[in-house]
């Protein structure tokens, strides 16, 4: 199976690999997937309390090239967005941008779930209610 150039680029030069302090109040952490499924993504956002803007985003992913690329792309998109804007990132945007084949759509779903999980973690830490999302179709 051939990967798209964009997937290869993210795989070879992943953006924003790393770890933010998950204990910090303005960091939201989303850990999704499961080792037995062959995909685990951890996505973290750092939010500026005053502006509600995402100032930093980091990821670590255990998975195939498409999973790594999806999370790398997600962190790029998150930086500079407000939390509300970040909620609008749809997995199909990732599919389109990375030109993912149908068998790899679950990687983009996972990235979307990771974003939402990170945002909810941030919200709960800061005294807000977690947003209830509709369940992903793929899961």
């Amino acid at each position: 199976m051939a990967y798209s150039d964009k997937v290869i680029d993210h795989y070879q030069n992943p953006k924003n690999v790393g770890t933010l302090d998950k204990a910090s109040k303005n960091v939201g952490t989303g850990l999704v997937g499961a080792p037995e499924c062959g995909d685990v993504m951890r996505l973290q956002i750092q939010v500026d309390d005053a502006t509600g803007m995402i100032t930093d985003a980091k990821f670590k992913t255990f998975g195939c090239g498409s999973a790594i690329a999806s999370s790398s792309l997600a962190t790029e998109w998150l930086k500079g967005k407000s939390v509300d804007e970040a909620l609008k990132i749809d997995n199909m945007d990732i599919v389109e941008e990375l030109n993912l084949p149908p068998v790899k759509i679950h990687c983009s779903v996972l990235a979307e779930d990771a974003i939402k999980a990170a945002i909810n973690d941030y919200r709960v830490k800061n005294g807000m209610d977690a947003i209830k999302f509709e369940e992903s179709v793929v899961h």
């Binding site: 080792p35 037995e36 685990v40």
Partner: protein
């Protein structure tokens, strides 16, 4: 000079030996006859070539040439042996014993048998990939007609105790079929010493052409018969109709001859490289060999690199190194290798595996390159792996409630 890409997926298929191609060439245009044409020189030449190849093939496995039934490959051989015995020995019983780590060509044939009213016992394997002989014997019933256990496993290279299996089978009057695809031509296989009644194997795993294989069917002590699965001209003693693939068969014969000639010397060289590859890769933390290291083909190793996903790992070098992984991120099921799972490996380790298959054409340079490329990729991906980070922090990953998807 190192030439890229490097091919280390020789359990999938091997390149053809140039000597094999050389032997085959005249049988496409010059000696193109049908081996079943009895009345002219074209047919005679073809028949003679087939007879010669039949001897070469038989010799490699210590059989009589009359016991070789040419097929299109091991999948056909597996089907013909299992379905053929099931139908031929229907009056004796309907029970077959096999193992969970068999190739799909055996497992799916057994499922077919179950659908048509047969009974199949699937033996579990131990952590080393071998079956328990006591369990095998205990599974035999009065209705058991066949034990179908592969000689060597295609994913982990584990070599089954065929001699011991056939001794048990003989005691109970049960036939033994073995899928010899990965073993024949690679290690000494002798149908008489090993007590094999039927064995399927194929040319393209031993430097021969694709599309040709053989089913060994014992003719003496006991005389074994299989019901043909294709109707037609009654070729191959009525067991496999269809015009013989003469050039393919000639190439198969040559491939067998070369394997027999060079096996001992080749294995020394190949296993040395395999051992070096393994030793170096095991220097990485949390790297494990899957399956028995003692009872194993000399050219195969299967290694799991914990906390790194196999397909992602392959992507790091698959432009330059051809390998396969036990992970199956591309399949709809997301299920990793059923063979590795049968060893009792957790899904995480099964997803983290690479299968290496060396060949007579593998060079030391290629192995050095591979060691370096894989080690680097594993380290790079671990830096990127949340599981590795958690492992390093001392978190027990099994205590985490994963949102399985």
């Amino acid at each position: 000079m190192l030439k890229l890409p490097i091919y280390l997926d020789n359990n999938a298929t091997t390149p053809m030996d140039p000597k094999v191609l050389e032997a085959m060439t005249p049988y496409f245009m010059q000696h193109f006859g049908n081996a079943a044409s009895r009345n002219h020189p074209f047919g005679w030449e073809a028949e003679e070539a087939v007879d010669y190849a039949r001897e070469q093939v038989a010799k490699l496995i210590g059989a009589d040439p009359k016991e070789i039934i040419f097929t299109s490959g091991a999948t056909e051989g597996d089907n013909l042996a299992i379905k053929g015995v099931y139908e031929m020995y229907a009056s004796k019983g309907n029970h077959i014993i096999t193992a969970t780590t068999e190739h799909k060509a055996v497992l799916d044939t057994c499922k077919h048998i179950e659908k048509s009213g047969g009974e199949v016992t699937y033996l579990q394997v131990k952590a080393d990939g071998l079956i328990d002989l006591k369990e095998l014997e205990a599974a035999i019933k009065p209705t058991t007609i066949l034990i179908a256990i592969m000689y060597a496993n295609n994913e982990i290279g584990t070599v089954m105790p065929i001699k011991e299996i056939s001794a048990i089978a003989r005691k109970h009057g049960v036939l033994v079929f073995t899928d010899g695809t990965q073993a024949v031509g690679k290690i000494p296989v002798n149908v008489n010493k090993d007590g094999i009644d039927l064995m399927a194997f194929t040319a393209h795993k031993m430097y021969g052409p694709k599309g040709v294989g053989a089913l060994y069917v014992r003719r003496k002590n006991p005389r074994v018969k299989v019901t043909a699965q294709m109707d037609g001209g009654g070729h191959e003693r009525g067991m496999r109709s269809g015009t013989l693939n003469v050039p393919g068969i000639v190439g198969f014969g040559k491939a067998c001859e070369l394997c027999m000639l060079n096996m001992e010397e080749e294995n020394k060289r190949i296993s040395k490289m395999r051992d070096h590859l393994e030793t170096e890769l095991l220097k990485l933390e949390e790297a494990y060999v899957n399956g028995s290291r003692e009872h194993r083909l000399p050219h195969v190793t299967n290694i799991s690199f914990k906390h790194v996903e196999g397909e992602g790992l392959l992507m790091g070098f698959n432009k330059n190194i051809a390998l396969s992984s036990g992970s199956a991120c591309t399949s709809a099921s997301l299920e990793p290798s059923y063979v590795l799972k049968a060893l009792g490996l957790g899904d995480d380790l099964a997803h983290s595996s690479l299968r290496f298959g060396l060949s007579r054409f593998t060079t030391e340079e290629e192995i050095e390159y591979t060691i370096k490329a894989i080690s680097e990729t594993v380290l790079k991906l671990r830096e990127m792996s949340p599981l590795w980070e958690m492992y390093k922090e001392g978190i027990d990953l099994s205590t985490i409630e994963w949102a399985a998807h």
